[in-house]
Amino acid sequence: MIGFSTRLSFAFRCFFSLLFEGKIPQDIVRVLTTSNAEVEPVAARAAPQAQAQKVAGDKLMPESADRAVQMLALLQRDGRLVDFLQEDVSSYPDGQLGAAVRSIHISCRQALDRYMKLEPIFSSEEDHPVTVPVGFDPAAIKLVGNVAGEPPIRGLLRHRGWRVAAVTLPSMPLGSGRAIVAPAEVEIP
């Protein structure tokens, strides 16, 4: 069984990898396939989120890699997310990793709150019955299990889903700045 923090790290990397490159990093696939059944859940959970966000994102802004880089840069600036994902954390004890993650979690979450308003697609409690309406959007609602019949259909809400309600990204850096996720820092003594 892989530790929680490693799983968290993998989940993040899968999320962004799927979002920006459309595939899961090879090293994660290798690790997970050796511990058999775990590829499925990770990928399954990450995929719908990425998909939902991508669809909503397309509506809100023109297709542009610059904005994706910018979001990443903001999460790095405020929450050091890229530093965290790029670091090999396998050797650290869970305690140390936990201390760092707690801090990263708070600041990334604040950054996310600031620049992207997220809302659940269903507002009811998970594991409670919901009705899938007539003419629902399959991009927003994914039916699993015994998929048959005609809407409206009753089912159990397994995941509330996420939708981007508003994007409030700051203006874009000029020119070459658009490719910068984090500037190098040089201290002048």
Binding site: F84, E87, V89, I104, P170
Partner: protein, 615 residues
């Protein structure tokens, strides 16, 4: 003519704010609004805030990517002001101006000369404390005008009545410099107001008419204002006038450079020591991070009174984020020891703060308070400010002569913490018991809502009150002012001619009143500049207009001189006898005039503020 808007500006040491109300709507009791202040919060990112951090960063070519500082109204601002200035200044302190307001009140420095950033590298073009203050005001003016001038509305801030707050402890020089800063920023209708009074006005606003039920004749309200950088006290009496309650500000404290920033830094230093004992090294950059984290941890512990500790995590630098993470914790016990016991210790009312030691070659810089105990500064305030006070009959005093407040009004970010309020009231109660009075309960603590914006809101309320829509606090000169007269004595080698002090403005001299020194005439030469030495005292409250003093020890200090040049057509070179007149104006200024014997001609004396030698 009355302006369309009434504007209150809190030009704070660490944060500034602007509140306003529409003067036409004010007649129907419209709300006072707090303005949003868009500012660059990160490169390429402008965001709305309701506070403008009073920080100015002077960017060099190497500081920010081109175009990343642009504001909606200025593509390439010369200075960074606000949140980004504060952030960037932590990384590159040599280009940051902080606490400009404290410099404004520090006579040891040349306040109109470009001296800030203090100890900046040579290539940085510096600004004077007045210019920096003016920049903050100009920034607010630009934002205001963007909202209120565009679209043909034409309500430029320059044309509005602006009520600008200053610490009650500011002397005439610092007030004059604040006025100049406002003038340089293009504000034409400015009235100064003391901050603790503004805080009290904010409370009045929040109470509506019911304030009359909270206080009664004979009450004494202590305003305790502990902000980010300064601590300021004032006393307000409640008396009766024509059957209605009247408020009067009767005492103000000294300028104490002690505030929340000192407290957070003290916590950061403690954690730094703890980490260094564990063998970790904390560099100055990490100390900044620690400072920030300590502030959050402190606020958490103040809010969650059941928690015994809060984690403080410093992420590793560079790519070793997790590997370099340092974790420690702030214990409640430590918070109590450092903040409550360190800054608000239980002391007797006779315990005075330690005085600054005067060292021969003291490094010039701001004169921070030598004693961090706010309660000791309060003890000195309550024991000294009532001595010889002309209002002493209306000030409730105890057996030991201490001024004994019946109510406390807290203001400033530090006083948001219940623990600190409770401690201050506890200490005050121990003094009250000793002096033979009942202790203060929760009903005696007056709560101004929204502490961050209270001063700006209160200033706007005051503007409204001046138009008859609200209660006014009467106040007068917060110090006694004198003109220095050199004695006509034969010169003794190596000794300065002894100086006498003629009282021209007594303590408490009320707004809108004048005083004339009839018995004393000065012969001034028309067309030639004359200089008067100008002195003030926060201690001598008993002196009356026209009193001539000798030997005042350390009770009087000298300010910058007053200059005047008599101009009179066709009288060049003649000696003209004039007498002095003083006036405290409705807009909070103090004026001294020379008047000819027949009263037909008058000339105003101007403060000539410059660096004082021997400080």
């Amino acid at each position: 003519m009355d302006s369309e808007f009434i504007v209150g500006i809190d030009l704070g040491t660490t944060n500034s704010a602007l509140a306003y109300c529409d003067s036409a709507a004010a007649l129907e009791g419209a709300r006072i609004e707090v303005a949003t202040i868009p500012q660059v919060v990160n490169p390429n990112e402008v965001a709305d805030r309701t506070l403008l951090p009073s920080f100015l960063y002077i960017p060099g070519d190497m500081d920010f990517p081109k175009g990343s500082l642009s504001l909606p109204w200025d593509a390439e601002p010369k200075f960074v002001i606000g949140e980004l200035a504060r952030k960037r200044g932590a990384e590159s302190p040599g280009r940051l101006v902080a606490s400009a307001k404290s410099w404004l009140s520090y006579a040891g420095a040349n306040r109109t000369a470009p001296i800030l950033p203090w100890q900046a590298p040579e290539e940085v073009s510096k600004l004077s404390p007045v210019e920096v203050s003016s920049q903050y005001l100009q920034y607010l003016r630009t934002i205001w005008d963007a909202h209120h001038v565009a679209g043909g509305k034409g309500h430029a801030l320059a044309k509005q009545d602006v009520f600008l707050t200053v610490p009650a402890s500011f002397d005439e020089e610092a007030r004059e410099l604040t006025r100049r800063a406002a003038e340089q920023a293009g504000l034409q209708r400015v009235t100064l107001l003391e901050e603790p009074q503004a805080a009290f006005y904010a409370w009045l606003e929040s109470q509506g008419d019911s304030w009359r039920k909270r206080v009664k004749v004979g009450d004494l309200v202590l305003v305790c204002d502990v902000g980010g950088g300064t601590t300021d006290f004032s006393l307000i009496t409640v008396s009766e006038e024509n059957g209605d309650l009247a408020l009067k500000r009767v005492a103000v404290g000294e300028h104490i450079l002690l505030g929340g920033d000192n407290m957070d830094l003290a916590l950061a230093r403690l954690l730094q020591q703890k980490l260094e004992v564990e063998g970790r090294r904390i560099d100055p950059y990490q100390l900044q991070g620690l400072w920030h984290q300590c502030r959050s941890a402190k606020e958490y512990l103040f809010e969650h009174t059941k928690s015994q500790k809060q984690d403080v995590t410093l992420l590793g630098k560079g790519r070793k984020l997790v590997g370099g993470t340092i974790k420690t914790e702030l214990l409640r016990q430590e918070l109590n020891r450092i903040l409550v016991e360190g800054f608000f210790p239980k002391v007797a009312s006779g315990e005075m703060p330690a005085r600054q030691r005067r060292i021969g070659f003291q490094e010039l810089g701001l004169p921070y308070a030598a004693d961090a105990a706010v309660t000791k500064h309060l003890a000195r305030f309550l024991s000294q400010q009532v001595q010889n006070n002309p209002e002493s009959a209306n000030i409730r005093r105890g057996r030991g002569g201490l001024a004994c407040p019946t109510h406390v009004l807290f203001n400033g970010g530090v006083m948001k913490a219940d623990m600190l309020r409770e401690r201050l009231v506890e200490v005050l109660n121990s003094w009250l018991t000793e002096e033979g009075f009942e202790t203060l309960g929760p009903q005696n603590v007056l709560d101004a809502p929204d502490l961050e914006h209270a001063v700006a809101r209160g200033a706007a309320y005051y503007g409204r009150a001046r138009r008859g829509q609200g209660v006014r606090i009467r106040s007068g000169a917060s110090r006694t002012y004198y003109i220095g007269i050199e004695s006509a004595m034969p010169a003794v080698p190596g000794m300065e001619a002894p100086l006498k002090a003629l009282c021209v403005v007594p303590f408490g001299m009320e707004e809108g009143t004048e005083a004339i020194m009839p018995d004393r005439e000065f012969g001034l030469v028309v067309g030639e500049p004359a200089e008067f030495r100008f002195l003030s005292s926060t201690i001598r409250k008993q002196d009356r207009v026209g009193d001539l003093l000798e030997n005042w020890g350390s009770e009087i200090e000298e300010l910058s001189p007053l200059d005047v040049t008599l101009t009179l057509a066709g009288q060049q070179g003649t000696v003209l006898p004039v007498r002095l007149e003083s006036r405290v104006t409705e807009i909070g200024t103090l004026e001294l005039w020379c008047a000819s014997r027949d009263g037909a001609n008058r000339w105003k004396l101007e403060l000539n503020i410059r660096e004082k030698s021997g400080q």
